[in-house]
Symmetry: C2
Subunit: 249 residues, 2 copies
DNA sequence: GGTAAAGTGAGTACGGCGTACTCAGTTTTT
DNA sequence: AAAAACTGAGTACGCCGTACTCACTTTACC
């Protein structure tokens, strides 16, 4: 036990011995490439090692197990939330909105990210930069740190939840049949049988009226995000005062 | 191919042949019992069959594969969102709030539910009842069906996202060390090393100021939910008019 | 009441997985 | 020169999902 049981505390280069033949970043990149192309399930230690041109068990010199591979992937991808060149807007709500949209774009580009990140707390360097950035946006508007964390947590909860449902929908369509029509027909016949009982008036309306005005996934995402930010803003203390009507506790 | 490739359309009792020795409901219950006690990973076809006192391959008479086991579990658990005895409140926001709280309570009782349900669209009978109920709450306030779906989707996105992060936190604490102190120390030493660079002023404040006022997970959940519902309400068309300032498109 | 359908537990098998362990050999720092 | 830490290769264990067969029992229909 060297005392470094945390991935991010462990030095990447050993004190002595030969130079490792690839880097953590390369490992993360290779894993991300596989997951992007073939899904999360395609990642195995054997496959990853093969892609890196390494022996399977050599990976365990870089990483204590598969979980740390996932940690590396997550933190690398989370880095894409934050473009380094642009400074965040002055308005906190604008800043969080921008962050949310960048997060969504990243999670759509890496469909494995949202489901994977949802299940584990994040502690890597890019996650730290993200937290730093988000909290920085809220600095100076009269909130305590605890309140800031509650507020940011609410926004990210929505973002993660929305994107996961968006991805699940897309994934189901991609997997079963190719066409939307096929997929609907599959479930619709069951829903029709429910409607026939007469106990589902709203579902009946749904089958008849839904889809009249097509709402893009972008717009649905924007709707919830903007309502949430509106509601938060309405509850914040007005400028100069320390207590608002509904501040995040 | 009998034509019933949908689990819910397939008759539970065969037209001929002996009575199956257990029911779909019993299968779902057994799986839920395992997952509640030992986590989702503890569920395997072999284990599930053993618990049911059945041969492993006999399960495939009830279900086409493990995925359908999950579908059964999800739909059974989702049934707990909706207590049958109580009628929903007249106010739509009150109704959705209540539903959200019931969903959260159920997902905390079954920690495997949120991660599992997030990844797949739901099409079972209880999911249908849930959709029916949620849409019914929004009936008569001047929204189209598409708008209702967008609105409900936003609320559930938040609920799912929040609970998953809540569960991830709890899980990480349960798994690593038992105490909160241990877990914090593990990551804190890394965060301290970041702070030492001077580039993370907000993280520095966080380590010093966070936790002054303890915010219960319940309160944080309520905060985001209530802000979201507030924001939605503020955007809805006022009574009697058909166009509001920000209606869900 | 016979027949066909659909259930049953048991067993075998295949290919994949994470990961623990060994080994002989090489590279780098002290 | 010595020690540390890397390397690919190989072996092994115990899980997993699920496909397939077998001899059998139970039930519904004609």
């Amino acid at each position: 036990m060297t005392g470094h049981d945390n991935l991010w505390m462990r030095p990447e280069r050993p004190a002595r011995g030969p130079r490792p033949s690839f880097s953590r970043a390369a490992l993360a990149e290779a894993a991300i490439r596989i997951a992007d192309a073939e899904g999360l399930e395609a990642i195995s230690m054997r496959r990853l090692a093969a892609d890196l041109g390494a022996g399977t068990m050599s990976l365990y010199r870089y990483v204590t197990g598969k979980d740390e591979v996932f940690d590396l992937m997550i933190d690398t991808a989370v880095g894409e939330y934050l473009p380094e060149d642009r400074r965040p807007p002055d308005d906190w709500a604008e800043g969080l909105r921008l962050l949310a949209w960048q997060a969504r774009r990243t999670m759509l580009r890496h469909p494995w990210l949202a489901p994977l990140a949802a299940g584990r707390p994040q502690a890597g360097p890019n996650s730290a930069r993200l937290t730093e950035s988000a909290l920085g946006m809220l600095d100076g508007i009269g909130l305590s740190v605890d309140e800031m964390l509650t507020l940011v947590g609410a926004v990210f909860a929505y973002v993660h939840g929305y994107i996961q449902s968006e991805l699940a929908e897309a994934e189901a369509m991609r997997r079963l049949g190719l066409t939307l029509a096929q997929r609907l027909a599959r479930h619709l016949s069951y829903i029709q049988s429910l409607i026939a009982t007469g106990n589902y008036p709203m579902l009946e309306r749904m089958t008849k009226e839904a889809g009249r005005e097509y709402t893009a996934a972008d717009d649905r995402f924007a709707y919830g995000l903007d309502r949430l930010l509106d509601g938060i803003a309405a509850g914040l203390p007005p400028r100069g005062e320390t207590e608002g009507p509904v501040s995040p506790r």
